[in-house]
């Protein structure tokens, strides 16, 4: 019993959940607008895309290191298929397959350089990101285009609607929410119930040990970046369909907030640690800060300051915890040696 509580207390997720609750109650007491159906639905809607991206960031950080290419991969591939859809009129599933293929190719490029040459993943993904940026804006002009007719059904698909009341505006939950839920279930099953999932954590924790234990480190790492490319494309498509248009510029720079979110959720940048619950909670907390600060009368200009402070504090707490646990470990080692 006490062991269980201790384990729970040591988890970042718990603290994030507490912060979310406290913040939510404060905002509601101040404004009376937080626990309204429309606000909650809006919040759920606003975490869809970022929590899909968070999967990319989680997989990359747990196994290898930073991946900052997912927003531009998403932006470029979505833009390409929207353009193709407009000009050629290909059916939607073919277009989605094309987008996934583009994402997979980008992921292969990332994986190739990271696995084969052992380059720093931040630098590699930064390069692919700028290459995608150059292609999206240079070769393809990168203007805002509307969602093509093939995707109209998906773009208009809402699974939940909150009617407008006198106190609050209406809100609707987009069908992409289901996509996100399915992706999380899939990743959950793979990470927690398969050998591959165990390998993802193992190679991030200690690569040499993982190799000796018989995991195919290189193949798995390569696979992770290909999967990241695919996830990025799905996230990007959802985003464009929710906005009913696509402008690659809107994707640019989206990685920072996602990385911040997963770090808050307890993912360690040094590898081997991180959970899906943490991903969702971190994303939710940041979405809350972005959406709800204005409700308590804090100017929208302060948004970035708050996000910055949250990242710094969250990262510092995690770092201090990590050093402390390492110190305890080394004390135990010493005692064991004597």
């Amino acid at each position: 019993m006490s062991k269980k509580i201790k384990r729970l207390l040591g988890k970042n997720e718990l603290y994030v959940a507490i912060i979310i609750l406290v913040l939510a109650i404060t905002i509601h007491m101040q404004s009376g607008l937080f626990f309204l159906p429309n606000n909650l639905v809006d919040l759920l809607r606003s975490i869809i895309v970022n929590s899909i991206y968070a999967l990319c960031a989680l997989l990359a950080f747990v196994s290898t290191g930073a991946d900052v290419s997912f927003p531009m991969i998403a932006g470029m591939s979505t833009y390409i298929i929207f353009k193709l859809g407009e000009t050629t009129g290909l059916p939607a599933f073919v277009l989605v397959l094309i987008a996934l293929a583009i994402g997979a190719v980008c992921g292969c490029i990332n994986g190739f350089f990271i696995v084969k040459f052992r380059f720093n993943s931040l630098i590699v993904t930064l390069s692919t990101s700028t290459i995608c940026y150059g292609i999206a804006f240079g070769a393809l002009k990168g203007v805002r285009i509307d969602v093509p007719a093939q995707f109209a059904d998906f773009a208009n698909w809402n699974i939940l609607k909150v009617a407008k009341t006198e106190k609050a505006l209406g809100a609707s939950l987009h069908g992409a929410f289901l996509v996100m839920v399915i992706l999380y279930l899939l990743v959950y099953l793979v990470l927690n119930h398969t050998m591959v999932g165990r390998a993802v954590y193992a190679i991030g924790g200690d690569e040499v040990s993982a190799r000796r234990a018989g995991f195919k480190v290189d193949q798995i790492r390569f696979g992770i970046f290909v999967v990241n490319g695919l996830l990025a494309v799905i996230g990007g498509l959802c985003y464009a369909c929710m906005c009913k248009n696509c402008s690659p510029m809107e994707y640019y720079g989206g990685e920072m907030i996602v990385i911040a979110a997963i770090v808050l959720g307890g993912v360690r940048l040094t590898g081997g640690h991180g959970s899906l619950t943490g991903c969702i909670l971190g994303t939710f907390l940041l979405a809350m800060v972005q959406n709800s600060l204005t409700m308590v009368g804090i100017s929208v200009y302060y948004q970035n300051v708050f996000i910055g402070i949250i990242i710094i504090l969250g990262a510092s707490v995690a770092a201090i915890q990590a050093t402390r646990s390492m110190k305890i470990k080394s004390v135990v080692d010493k005692e064991g040696g004597e």
């Binding site: 350089f113 390069s127 200009y301 970035n304 708050f306």
Partner: protein, 330 residues
Amino acid sequence: MTAKRKSGINSDFLRMLIILIVLFIVAGVTRGSAFMSVKNFQTMGKQLSEYGLLALGLSMAMITGGIDLSTVYIANLCGATSALVMQAFVSEANPDGSLTGILIGCAVGLLVGLVCGCLNGILVSVVKVPPMLATLGTYELFYGITIVLGKGKPINAVNNFKSFAKNDVLFDMVPRPFIIFVVSAVILSIVVGKTAFGRRIHLVGVNEKAAAFAGIKNVAVITAAYMISGLLSAMTGLINLSKIASVKADFGSSYVMMTILIAVLGGCDPNGGYGEIPGVATAVLVVQVISAYLNSIPQINNYYRQALYGVLLLGFMTYKYFRNKAKSSR
């Protein structure tokens, strides 16, 4: 590596120098007088100061085994605070800003840069936050503060300060920002290449634990490296303020990628321990020449430059990988 250092010239610097000369010849032959004009060189000299000093700062962080993603936003924050201080000194007698106001403004800006760098350094060395994450957090913070300072709008420079970057000195030919860049690069080269401090930041980058056992105060060394980066960023902020006449919170966000490219081209190892300033400074020139060359060809869209930088970075790292491999198997 020690042998290389003794010879005084390192191979990264030499390689960049050769590439630079080749680029000049190619540009001169294919674009002729459009490229080889005094005006073009002056523009290049002014332009490279927008990111050259940032790249030098980033390389300091990279040598210690870290990275500094916040440089661009430190620059903007410092520009914004300086501009506000200078505006505060505007009176009826001096509608274009007084000299004391400008001097105090510059001092405050540089101080803010040092404080920002110090914050980065403490987060990395004392709290032990991974450098990428620490500077990502401060990047967001500095960006946010700049927005708050300007209330979401650009902040204007006082008129008297605008002329600083515009006036050319040295036979009315060489722009001031370029001189600042060269002087900073030379000073930093000496600091990093010839002093005990320079040797220490390399050692910390190679192996932090070993450095600590060798009696090096890691916290002080790393913090100092990030503070230098902050100071250089602040100088960039002041130059930009004078040149562009206003500060925007999101100015130069694409320079983050560019500075990393320059640092790696210049011979810095992203994993730390390697890198010399002359190489980085020459890499700044190389990137500026490429950029100006592409600019002089109207058919090439500006955005292709970004794609090219990405390809260049990957290509160059691959080249280095194979060269190191060939060297170690010999």
